[in-house]
């Protein structure tokens, strides 16, 4: 026959272990302080897709402007989700001098082109990142990832996963209003599990 008092002792032994694991679930072991926010954004010089005459986009040319740098790919499903939000934000902010770039990541130019056609245009330059050198410079973990760079060429925030227009506004508006960004660098924001 089962001895229920002893059984209760057995259960009592199990509980702290379960508690510890449950506590572990609340932590994020991959959360390491990003080296990016607050630091100067790495310079890039990337060919603009389908530009005539051939044009090269440089970060250094954009000093004094807020830059939104979005890494995407045609095979990336969350990028598709994110696209309308980015289109909305870019149409709102490009008129106010904010520069948007979409960097095609680990994908062929032809795939990228047909993707843009499929989603009804991108509304801002698509950049070709040969050999993913720029992605490496920016320490990309996956796509989509979005970097918001301030007028002084510093990374204000790195956003992992699909971003929304509201989230972009919350970051861009203070920059445009000239609010000093002296506060502690914000940690990386994370939306959804990455799809890299």
């Amino acid at each position: 026959m089962m001895n229920w008092r002893r059984a209760a002792i057995g259960i009592a032994i199990a509980l702290p272990v379960i508690g510890l694991l449950a506590y572990g679930m609340t932590l994020d072991p991959t959360a390491r302080p990003s080296t990016m926010p607050g630091r100067p954004a790495p310079e890039f010089a990337l060919r603009v897709m389908d530009s005539a005459p051939p044009d090269t986009a440089r970060l250094s040319d954009q000093l004094g402007r807020v830059v939104v740098l979005n890494f995407w790919a045609s095979w990336c499903i969350p990028c598709r989700v994110e696209h309308p939000e980015l289109a909305l934000a870019s149409s709102k902010y490009q008129a106010r001098g904010v520069k948007f770039f979409g960097v095609l990541y680990d994908d062929s130019e032809a795939n990228g082109r047909s993707w843009i056609r499929e989603v009804g245009g991108q509304g801002y330059p698509a950049l070709i990142d040969e050999r993913s050198r720029t992605a490496i410079d920016y320490g990309l973990y996956g796509v989509p990832e979005t970097f918001i760079i301030d007028q002084q060429g510093r990374v204000v925030q790195k956003h992992i996963g699909p971003i929304t227009a509201d989230q972009l506004s919350a970051i861009i508006d203070p920059l445009l209003a000239g609010t000093p960004q002296e506060r502690a660098p914000a940690p990386d924001t994370m939306q959804a599990p990455d799809a890299s």
Binding site: W75, R131, S132, P193
Partner: protein, 664 residues
């Protein structure tokens, strides 16, 4: 279409497994044989369903059906067929799907073999195994559903993780690991069956003996395949890093090793019954814990899968398993009391006890080191990491003691040893120990752990070989004949025992390889210009030129090297650096030249873009190849003890009145 087929199979598996659990339990209570039989049919049906689901996924992967969520995640038209097929387990959902297949196969096989023989115990065991199945099928229908619809379907996908698609061993390590891991579910299921049915004699042990050996052998191979992969792919010249997930695969191996020995003590002497129950439950829980650690993102590791709500499911499952099994063992502990006692300190069972204590201490050390960051953060809010030095310092003494005991056990008889006989038997092993020590010292080895490990390996190797030699000689004396047939006859006469000794020899071989490659390793890091050479322990490595290659998924830079021994060209090597998009750091692909006595291992650490110089890390690792060879010997030993013929040997009934059945 194929998506709907796969999804339906998973949903059906969940429903049928749930039915099976209930049917088995209710069937036993009501003594309804038809209901119990239908629960067995549920186990068979589940295997068929999981086979369908897995084939559907492989079909989807091979035909690049990117409308299936999982295929869109891990598939790519650029990936070679082999890596496309094995991407079945390269990501979370697929690995759970494959797990479901292995689990349903084991369950069906175990149920079929024991059908109608074990009464309530068998029915409850079936319920327990199906219950584990319910959990995995639930994952497949819920948080790890690979069958989601992607619409519109993308034209192409990103392909599997680059680390997982540059070595053939990735097709071997994960399935072996699953076969080993999941195999531990069967002994666990029968242990729970015994606890629930109250049939607490040795039946469950004897029934599951072969399962444990098979799962253990596969797990051994899997762990070493993982080491091999890490050695060949990761480029740091080592094979074990005490990474949390490596530890997670190692802990159940340790407890299963302990269990195989202590189970013999129970079978032969009726001792350690609570202990054995606890060990097999611990083994199973550790396999689930290991999976939880990889899949939940609770601990940072190179093995981490993407995260998601799946962690909560695993946590709930671990909680249920822990609470139910600990309550069962504790509640039945008075009935599990041993009916024998230790007769003498110098006997095989004593050695097994010490072996069990050491293996348990080993498991606790590894568990402590793995979980410590979590405990520290829970109690003190600090982020700490426990590195390899902790594990090495804590476990090395245990390792060498175990290495020594591998030789002692076989030389001691059960119950009481005749001391004169024991001393006579230790002569040759002791001689081997001393000779090895003297030779190693003469050759200039000064590392204390190295000296101890090599000498103990010699001792244990001699002791185990001696068992074969004595047995074979005795058979030759009795029946005449030649050596080889006599040896084969000896092994056939008791495959479990001699298979075990073969596994011992394999472990000793592995230990020698590990000691050699860590203690005798030499390395040099140097920057050279084209035409210049690096010399290290007899090898001359000449740097010829640097090349670059822009491939579809990566950009590779490599160095062409010529290897010379005594000014004679013996081969070429080409270590590379691969730059994958989206990774901060390039991935090193080392070039390895393996020979029985030593490996030459070269890494390209850095280079000048104009090709004017390269920085090479040249490592010479003696004996490393014996780690892999040892694992094959271990697996062969497990195989021998499994299929080496039926055990016809009759054991003299040691416990009076307790007939010892031997058939498994």
């Amino acid at each position: 279409m194929i998506r709907i087929l796969g999804l339906s199979a998973c949903i059906a598996a969940l429903a049928i497994a749930s039915y099976g659990v209930v049917a088995a339990a209710v069937g036993v209570r009501r003594r309804d044989a038809a209901l119990v039989r239908s629960a067995r049919s549920a186990a068979y049906t589940n295997f068929a369903l999981m086979a369908v689901a897995n084939l559907a996924m492989v079909y989807g992967l091979v035909t690049h059906d990117f409308s299936i969520d999982y295929v869109a995640q891990v598939g790519s038209r650029a990936t070679p067929l082999y890596f496309t097929i094995i991407s079945l387990w390269s990501s979370l959902e697929g690995s759970i799907l494959f797990w479901g297949l292995v689990l349903s196969f084991y369950t069906a096989l175990a149920v079929w073999i024991t059908r109608g023989k074990l009464g309530a115990l068998g029915a409850y065991a079936n319920a327990a195994m199906l219950g584990v199945g319910v959990f995995f099928y639930l994952l497949l229908v819920g948080p790890a559903n690979p069958w989601g619809l992607v619409s519109p379907a993308p034209m192409d996908g990103p392909g599997p993780n680059p680390l997982l698609q540059n070595h053939w061993l990735m097709g071997v390590h994960p399935p072996l690991l699953y076969l080993g891991y999941v195999g531990m579910t069967v002994p666990f299921g029968f242990a729970v069956g015994a606890l629930l049915s109250g049939r607490l004699d040795d039946t469950w042990l004897r029934v599951t003996h072969r399962w444990t050996v098979a799962a253990w052998g596969l797990l051994s191979l899997a762990i070493v395949a993982g080491m091999w992969w890490s050695y060949e792919v990761l480029g740091w010249g080592g094979w074990w890093a005490w990474d949390p997930v490596e530890n997670a695969s190692f802990m159940p191996w340790l407890t299963a090793t302990a269990f195989m020995h202590s189970a013999m003590v129970q079978e032969r002497r009726g001792l350690l019954r609570v202990w054995n129950m606890s060990l097999i439950i611990a083994t199973f829980v550790l396999t689930i814990l290991g999976t939880f650690l990889t899949r939940s993102g609770i601990i940072s590791s190179v093995h981490a899968f993407s995260e998601g709500p799946i962690g909560m499911y695993f946590l709930a499952f671990i909680a249920v398993v822990l609470v139910v099994s600990l309550a069962l063992v504790a509640g039945r502990s008075s009935e599990l009391r041993s009916d024998g006692h230790l007769d003498n300190m110098v006997s095989r069972e004593t050695v097994f006890l010490v072996n069990n204590l050491l293996l348990t201490a080993f498991t606790f050390t590894v568990l402590l080191g793995t979980m410590f960051p979590l405990v520290a953060e829970a109690l003190r809010g600090e982020k700490v990491s426990v590195g390899a030095p902790f594990f090495n310092q804590m476990t090395l003494p245990i390792c060498v003691l175990l290495l020594f005991l591998i030789g002692v056990g076989p030389m001691l008889p059960w119950r009481v040893a005749n001391m004169d006989e024991f001393k006579r038997r230790t002569r040759i092993p002791a001689l081997a120990l001393v000779v090895t020590l003297v030779v190693a010292l003469t050759l200039g080895l000064r590392d204390v752990w190295g000296l101890i490990a090599f000498s103990f390996a010699a001792w244990s190797g001699a002791a185990n070989i001696q068992e074969f030699a004595h047995g074979t000689a005795a058979r030759r004396r009795a029946g005449g004949g030649r050596w080889l047939p006599s040896l084969a006859g000896l092994i056939r006469s008791n495959p479990q025992r001699y298979g075990g000794y073969i596994a011992h020899l394999g472990l000793i071989t592995t230990a020698i390889g590990m000691t050699g490659s860590s203690v005798l390793q030499s390395d040099i890091l140097a920057t050279v210009r084209p035409g210049e050479s690096i010399e290290l322990s007899g090898y001359t490595v000449r740097f010829d030129e640097l090349w670059a290659d822009n491939q579809s998924h990566r950009f590779a830079v490599g160095a062409d090297l010529t290897v010379l021994i005594a000014n004679r060209e013996v081969g070429r090597m080409d270590p590379r650096l691969n730059f994958y998009a989206g990774r901060d750091e390039p991935i090193m692909t080392p070039s390895v030249r393996s020979r029985p006595h030593k490996d030459l291992y070269v890494n390209l650490s850095a280079f000048e873009q104009d090709g004017s110089s390269a920085t090479l890390h040249v490592i010479v690792e003696p004996l490393v190849v014996w780690i892999w060879i040892g694992s094959f010997i271990v697996a062969f030993g497990a195989l021998v003890s499994l299929v080496g013929g039926r055990r016809t040997r009759t054991v003299s009934p040691i416990r009076r009145g307790a007939p010892v059945e031997q058939a498994v």
